[in-house]
């Protein structure tokens, strides 16, 4: 099975939910289409949507909600 990763495009704080009182964008085990939003990175009072560049099944998140992340850091593993 080919593994793919979703990387953070920029540094900041990672969030799995669109807002604190809303459900997560995606859960582990969910099917992901290309372009699906899997989380947000907050920086400079801006929330940047992290989108999947390829389709697959979200196997595991590699960072916790509200973790600091760097540019290029893997956020989640995808499998075909």
């Amino acid at each position: 099975m080919a593994m793919k990763q979703i990387l953070s495009p920029l540094p900041g704080t990672f969030y799995r939910k669109p807002a604190p009182d809303q459900p997560a964008f995606k859960s582990e085990g969910d099917s992901i289409a290309q372009g699906d939003v899997i989380g947000l990175v907050e920086v400079m009072k801006t929330f940047f949507e992290v989108k999947a560049e390829a389709a697959g099944k979200l196997k595991v998140f590699l960072v916790e909600n509200e973790d600091p992340v760097t540019a290029g850091q893997p956020l989640a593993d995808l499998e075909d």
Binding site: P11, T46, G72
Partner: protein, 323 residues
Amino acid sequence: MAFKVLNPGLFTTVQDLGRPGYFHLGIPVSGAMDRFALRAANLLVGNDEGAAALESVFMGPQLEFEIDATVAVTGADMPARVDGEAKPGWTAFKVRAGQVLTFDYLKGGARIYIAISGGVDTPPSLNSRSTYPIGALGGVEGRPLAIGDVVQLGKGVGAKEGRSVPENLRRMPGSPVELRVLPGLYWRLITEEAGRNFFEDEWAVAPEADRMGYRFRGGRPIEFEKRDQPFGAGSDPSNIVDGCYPYGSIQVPGGTEPIVLHRDAVSGGGYFTLGAVISADMDLIGQLQPHTPARFVKVDMETALTARHDRRSLLDKVRESLS
């Protein structure tokens, strides 16, 4: 004589050396957060040092060129590519009409400066092309670049490719970054212990940090000397009767999180300021990512002026090496 914006990245603005002279009217100086990097980029492509270039923070843009140009990318470590081919930083390279400039992930620092031969030729406002989005001044319609923008370039012969700023003349912040501070007029408002703590504690850049101010958190709260708040000041001990905020001044609203005011900051207000980060270290702040550890180091005026002199010498060396 233009390039087209295929993707603006997170926040890409036109910046030059800013618009000094209007701060007393509440219009900030604006201009590049890392002015050393802007000057170096312009020198590499054969422009005047103060020509307008692009500043991109954390993510690079994708630009399609309509003309042949010489380009240089300085500041943060974010590798550039021309039609997929990697180009070194701090070095002039050619881009041909029809080619696309893209960027890899950010590896270090925060802001790149993309200088293009001829300079970005958006209409100046108040003697500068620098973008001040809140005031809708400068740049492209006073805002950051957006998809589909066609941005005009000035006439420029362009320097030859391959010229490079020697590595020992490039300057990037360490980790933890050390920011030198000259204590200011309101230092007397805080306790002696709070003053010591401020310089002893390790702080970290908060994710909110932007062109207006760099916020830091993680150190102990500031304690204030007891005093009756004067008429005109608010009830919080961090409030003062309104005063001026110089570029680099450090305000601490509520005594909790210091904010270093940067190029797009307000010119005055009702928070006390601890002092100011010295001018020689302000470019470094422009290269800080969120969560970067930071320490503030107390200096006197003589040290601040020597540091300013050293910065000028460094720039002179860059000028010499590229002349």
